[in-house]
């Protein structure tokens, strides 16, 4: 049997370290021992595969999951999922979740005294198409306070979870909005210390996908780990 085709090792520049003391929860939750580097066997180059049958028709439209429309600024978030060789990642699952326009999650543990919206849950799922493209319709999330430090506020963000084709390519990230004044103060955003890398978490406003009289468009491309291009197949 041919050997599994290995992936490029993770690019440390551009990723957060596990320990980022300004983000206080990392202090007791980050490993103190170095990670053990392991080769890419079948266990790593395989991963869960999803089918269309498991998604509902309204999973990608967070504004139509209830009887009425949610409050807030309606937006269209779309983009491509690519690998590090620039190839599209087709048919892969994206899961997103976010707070409502007032900055409140429906989650029971969110105690921020901002209103819940009975017409907004804030969770969605979609598969990329054969070109790696995806699209969600949602509302723009609000900023919200948290208890990391005095007067701590999270910039508006949408959580993204992706699988890609293997156990290696699993990625959970957050999409931010351009020009947010809270960026300099947010230790989670700034856990990515390389400014060019941090910029890759910021979506861009896009007039092309903005729909007249209806909703603003934001583009957010996501890059997952890719194969080591210097290793050829058997």
């Amino acid at each position: 049997m041919s050997q599994p085709r290995p992936y490029r090792r993770e690019q440390v520049v551009g990723q957060p370290a596990y320990l980022h003391p300004d983000y206080k929860s990392t202090v007791k939750r980050s490993p103190s021992q170095p990670l053990v580097i392991i080769p890419h066997s079948l266990s790593e180059v395989t991963g869960p595969v999803y089918g269309h049958s498991r998604l509902g028709p309204l999973d990608a439209d967070l504004t139509r999951q209830h009887a009425g429309e949610p409050l807030g600024e309606r937006i269209i978030v779309s983009g491509r999922v690519l690998d590090e060789n620039g190839r599209p990642v087709p048919h892969t699952l994206l899961e997103i979740w976010q707070c409502n326009a007032a900055g409140r999650y429906i989650h029971v543990k969110d105690q921020h005294p901002a209103p819940l919206d009975p017409n907004f849950t804030g969770a969605g799922r979609v598969l990329t198409d054969e070109n790696g493209e995806y699209k969600f319709i949602t509302i723009k999330p609000g900023a919200y306070p948290w208890k990391n430090h005095h007067n701590a506020w999270r910039p508006a963000h949408i959580h993204f979870s992706l699988f890609g084709p293997s156990f290696i390519t699993r990625l959970v990230t957050q999409m931010y909005f351009p020009g947010d004044p809270l960026f300099p103060f947010d230790p989670i955003f700034n856990s990515v210390t390389d400014p060019r890398a941090a910029a890759r978490m910021i979506s861009r406003f896009d007039m092309e996908t903005t729909v007249p009289e209806w909703a603003l468009g934001y583009k957010f491309d996501i890059v997952l780990r890719g194969r080591d291009a210097s290793v050829f197949e058997d």
Binding site: Q3, Q11, P16, Q33, E84, F167
Partner: protein, 198 residues
């Protein structure tokens, strides 16, 4: 080795990882997530469970644990696994479970068969584990091995990359007749779990 220089030949670099945060529970867990088996699934039914703790030994009550494993014949349900072994259409091999108020996660699955490593080596039966949590900025990867597979574990190519005194953090003991395998995950500290750079 991890590469500390950005690739020069491509503008495509992995998007930075961010924490899953504390508020994923209404979005990511799903009812069937902790149960990987159906009635017709081939293989020995097992439960795997453990408690996730932080550097102070306190339970991590807002972690999300994902597992990925081969079927009982030792084949992954994935197009890149071209081994000449039976596929079990009732077994996808992926599970997802949040930790509870005690920091405990639990999966109902089957014991996986052995899968090959590189260069015709065999790997001991194992389950791949991904850990996400508030305060965890990048997915953490580890594995669960089975204590009764002592001989296979002794020659497992991945376990052999781990300092001998830390291997025990990856090996689950079998408890009881309805087999429960216990593997606690310690994010930091004296009994820190071995995490992998994949």
């Amino acid at each position: 080795m991890s590469d500390t220089t950005p690739p020069q030949d491509t503008p495509y670099v992995q998007t930075p990882s961010q924490t899953v945060g504390p508020f994923f529970h209404y979005a990511l867990p799903y009812e069937a997530g902790p149960c990987l088996v159906g009635e017709a699934t081939q293989g020995e039914r097992i439960t795997i469970e453990g408690r996730v703790t932080d550097g102070d030994g306190l339970p991590v009550t807002d972690a999300l644990i994902e597992i990925w494993q081969a079927n009982s014949a030792g084949r992954y349900h994935h197009p890149e696994d071209g081994q000449d072994k039976p596929l079990d259409e009732t077994f996808g091999g992926f599970g997802r479970a949040p930790t509870d108020e005690q920091g405990v996660f639990r999966f109902h699955t089957i014991k996986p068969g052995a899968v090959p490593g590189l260069h015709n080596e065999m790997q001991a039966p194992h389950i791949n584990i991904c850990i996400l949590a508030r305060g965890v900025l990048k997915r953490m990867a580890t594995r669960l091995y089975f204590a009764e597979e002592a001989e296979a574990n002794r020659v497992d190519p991945v376990l052999n990359l781990v300092p001998e005194e830390r291997r025990k953090t990856l090996i689950a003991e079998r408890i009881g007749d309805t087999p429960v395998y216990r593997l606690d995950i310690c994010l930091q500290g004296e009994n820190e779990t071995v995490f992998f750079d994949i």
